[in-house]
């Protein structure tokens, strides 16, 4: 079964607005990661947050983690058209080995 599930499935905003995506997962994790995918090809790693961390920042990205609720959020501030992409969260699967990805959130930023 999939470990991570993103919400919403699709999000459309204007440039300059903030975008928030949520991820819920089912089992205990070691870390949670967010990735971005352009045009249905290779993914790019954005940020990794460990289970003992609650918040992490990287440029315009802010990630929070609530292990009690088994959820994480990705906030992109002051969005740009170039942020248009699909965003995935990923956690370690139940077997404790591979990264298991959710279905993703498709973000569209219009100028």
């Amino acid at each position: 079964s999939q470990q991570g599930e993103e919400d919403p499935q699709a999000l459309s905003i204007q440039e300059g607005e903030n975008a928030t995506m949520n991820c819920s997962y089912k089992t205990s994790i070691n870390n949670l990661q967010w990735y971005r995918q352009n045009s249905g090809r290779g993914l790019v790693h954005l940020i990794l947050i460990r289970s003992n961390e609650r918040e992490k920042h990287s440029g315009r990205l802010r990630v929070t983690l609530d292990t009690s609720k088994k959820s994480s959020s990705l906030l992109i501030t002051a969005s740009r058209a170039a942020d248009t992409a699909s965003y995935f969260c990923a956690t370690i699967g139940q077997a404790g080995t591979a990264l298991i990805f959710g279905k993703g959130t498709t973000l569209s930023v219009s100028s």
Binding site: R41, I92, I100
Partner: protein, 115 residues
């Protein structure tokens, strides 16, 4: 190499034929992953290699799918007797130690079309 390399980038095959997809991970990366992504869908885990440990094959959808990796180098994903539902982008990723500690780096994928 500079990044994860996958070949071919595109493959069109006839239903029933076998195909072999190749992944060259980043040098020194002990962990290697294969995923399948159907159009508009998320990433479906297929198989995971970590060093010399037995691979995690729990994601392989049927016995038509198999993968090999020699040491910490190249991996091949083989799909036998391809079916139309096998059409997808197959993504490979590698990481230094495995998902517990580090990020995964992805190749650009192989787009497989079964006609």
């Amino acid at each position: 190499g500079a990044g994860v390399s996958q070949s071919p980038s595109n493959k069109v095959t006839e239903k029933g034929k076998d195909v072999e997809l190749r992944c060259d991970p980043i040098s020194g990366h002990t962990a290697l992953y294969w995923y399948r992504q159907r159009l508009g869908q998320g990433l479906e885990f297929l198989i995971y290699f970590q060093g010399n440990s037995a691979p995690d094959k729990s994601g392989l959808p049927s016995d038509r799918f198999s993968a090999e990796r020699t040491g910490e180098s190249v991996s091949t994903l083989t799909i036998q007797r391809t079916q139309q539902e096998d059409s997808a982008v197959y993504l490979c990723a590698s990481s230094r130690e495995g998902a517990r500690n580090t990020e995964a780096f992805f190749g650009q994928g192989t787009r497989l079309t079964v006609v």
